[in-house]
């Protein structure tokens, strides 16, 4: 009957669309023709459905420069144990399926922190188990939700030290623990769980601000000392390494000091979690990209939003996956990246190197239909 036919058509459309977008992100000269053909096919299939703008325009912009390599990310899964909340578990598993379906596979997968919701052993173990399904090598980053129950003991036992660096295809990668907080709990006689719940509340003003801290900055200084200034640097931090909105810790207290340490380098990119939204910033030589959460989207903060950020549409509360997802990062040969936001149930968005290079004058992502209230 009609609804059945419609469903079949829609499934076909979604399949083609998914194929199209995975091809776009992998584009080289030879496959350009193939993808363009596929786009035409999608356009033809679209006659019965509302029009989208994701065809040839996206192909052209993606064809502008060839990335040297690509990695994927999953971030902010906020897992409770399965018996309490299955939704977040399923969302994390969906993200794992997404990255495993990438063909060819990304060079590695970054996990962006906040694996657990309350840093509990069962949550972290479950997270490790889910992430063990990822086929590509995985790079772990810690978030405040993983840390403040036992101050990182379980996380470190499972995943190793929170600060580390590695070189990959000519790029120096650094994973930096940026969610330390000055002791607010001892004076208040808090139990470990009270401390954890305080930090877990985004709008809980009883906590301190995030910081890399003296120890972390010393570690970073020593690490950077070994890196030639013209080598591209990519930093993973859970909190944005700049100051966006203090009351929600969309903030790193010693960001200015960290930025000063990075200023001498030719190309620096920061990929951060915590903010659960499309977020773009540039400060001098540093490009900043936020990651999506698999669990839920945060609204944009009432002030301090970086000028270069093109907001994602307000999330539809009636669709529990809306505003969430994962994504990929294409690293260009000379450094800097294209950031792919794979929003579940929406058209993907690319925030390109060109957009940031040109301070937003070129290759701007599409404006939201419904920005924040």
């Amino acid at each position: 009957m009609w609804p059945l036919k419609w469903k079949k058509r829609e499934q076909e459309y979604r399949r083609e669309r998914a194929e199209f977008f995975s091809a776009v992100s992998l584009l080289d000269r030879r496959s350009f023709i193939k993808v363009a053909g596929m786009a035409a096919g999608v356009a033809a299939a679209k006659t019965a459905l509302p029009p989208h703008s994701f065809q040839l325009v996206d192909v052209v912009s993606a064809a502008q420069a060839q990335p040297a390599f690509r990695f994927a990310y999953i971030s902010d899964t906020h897992l409770y144990e399965r018996q309490l909340n299955e939704r977040f578990v399923k969302a994390a598993m969906r993200a794992v399926q997404d990255v495993n379906a990438l063909n060819p596979q990304p060079d590695f997968v970054l996990f962006g922190g906040d694996l657990a919701q309350l840093g509990q052993v069962g949550e972290l173990d479950l997270g490790k188990q889910i992430l063990s399904e990822v086929k590509a090598p995985i790079k772990m980053m810690v978030g405040e939700h993983d840390w403040f129950l036992d101050m990182g003991d379980k996380w470190k036992e499972l995943f190793g030290p929170p600060n580390y660096s590695f070189d990959h295809k000519g790029v120096h990668f650094i994973t930096l623990m940026s969610v330390n907080e000055k002791d607010f709990w001892t004076a208040k006689n808090m139990t470990p769980m009270q401390r954890m719940l305080t930090v877990a509340g985004l709008d809980n003003s009883a906590q301190s601000r995030f910081e890399v801290g003296v120890e972390g900055r010393n570690w970073l200084k020593a690490d950077l000392a070994k890196v030639p200034k013209n080598r591209p640097v990519v930093i993973f931090s859970h909190s944005p390494l700049y100051k966006y909105y203090e009351p929600w810790n969309f903030w790193t207290e010693d960001a200015d000091q960290v930025q000063a340490m990075l200023a001498p380098f030719r190309s620096v990119t920061v990929i951060h979690g915590h903010t659960h939204q499309m977020l773009t910033n540039r400060i001098g030589n540093i490009h900043f990209h936020g990651m999506l959460s698999t669990a839920w989207p945060w609204p944009y903060a009432p002030m301090g939003l970086p000028k270069l950020t093109v907001q994602m549409d307000r999330a539809d509360p009636f669709d529990e996956a809306d505003g969430t997802g994962g994504g990929q990062i294409s690293v260009h040969p000379g450094g800097y990246v294209d950031k792919h936001y794979n929003l579940w149930g929406r058209n993907p968005v690319v925030v390109s190197k060109l957009y940031l290079d040109s301070w937003g004058k070129q290759d701007a992502p599409p404006a939201p239909g419904f920005p924040s209230y």
Partner: protein, 204 residues
């Protein structure tokens, strides 16, 4: 609640002050001598009336000093007389005291709503999701836009309908009654966050 009112009444009567003064007179006298030097730079003793605005600095006494009973009675009588004079002049039946009550009760309700907003168990949630997880500081709850038509539920919804929708769906709990004190508190908290934002019912 009763305790709070009792405290206010006790203050107003000044009788407590007098009684205290009598009982402690001897100890206080000895202490006063010792502390006289230390208190030289302390602020003067201020007596406040229960209307919340009338204050009187007591000459010769410092903060923490206790008035002799006779003096306390005189000052109380003087202050009450002044207030009675002022009251005779005013055109409104509402006093600063009323205003204090309104503000206090509003604040209490908002604080209760704030607590509920951060407590999934108190709202009957079952999967660890509380309001603040998607709406820090009640952001994106935009109380000023209701009532409005919601395509997804095919009807005009009030803010409380959306609260119940959230309790039932993302929080996996049971809806609460429109006149449930918890609903009132949640509404107070959410609307307080949008204080000063122009009303815009129907905005999407």
């Amino acid at each position: 609640m009763n305790k709070r009112y009792m405290k206010v009444i006790a203050l107003m009567m000044f009788a407590a002050v007098s009684a205290f003064a009598l009982r402690e007179a001897f100890i206080v006298e000895a202490q006063q001598k010792q502390e006289a030097e230390a208190k030289q730079e302390a602020s003067p003793l201020v007596v406040q009336l229960c209307d919340g605005t009338s204050k009187l600095e007591i000459e010769g006494l410092k903060e923490g000093d206790v008035m002799p009973p006779e003096m306390a009675r005189n000052i109380a009588a003087k202050m009450l007389a002044t207030v009675a004079q002022e009251k005779a002049k005013q055109t409104s039946k509402w006093t600063a005291r009323d205003r204090q009550t309104w503000e206090r009760e509003q604040k209490r309700l908002i604080e209760e709503g704030d607590k509920l907003f951060h407590d999934w168990k108190a709202l009957g949630g079952t999967i660890g999701i509380s309001c603040d997880m998607c709406h820090p500081n009640a952001s994106n709850t935009h109380a000023e836009t209701y009532p409005k038509f919601q395509t997804q539920i095919k009807k005009v919804a009030a803010l409380r309908d959306m609260v119940n929708w959230c309790i039932e769906n993302p929080m996996k709990g049971k809806p609460i009654a429109a006149d449930d004190p918890r609903m009132l508190a949640l509404e107070a908290y959410m609307t307080a966050q949008r204080k000063g934002v122009p009303l815009d019912p129907g905005k999407h």
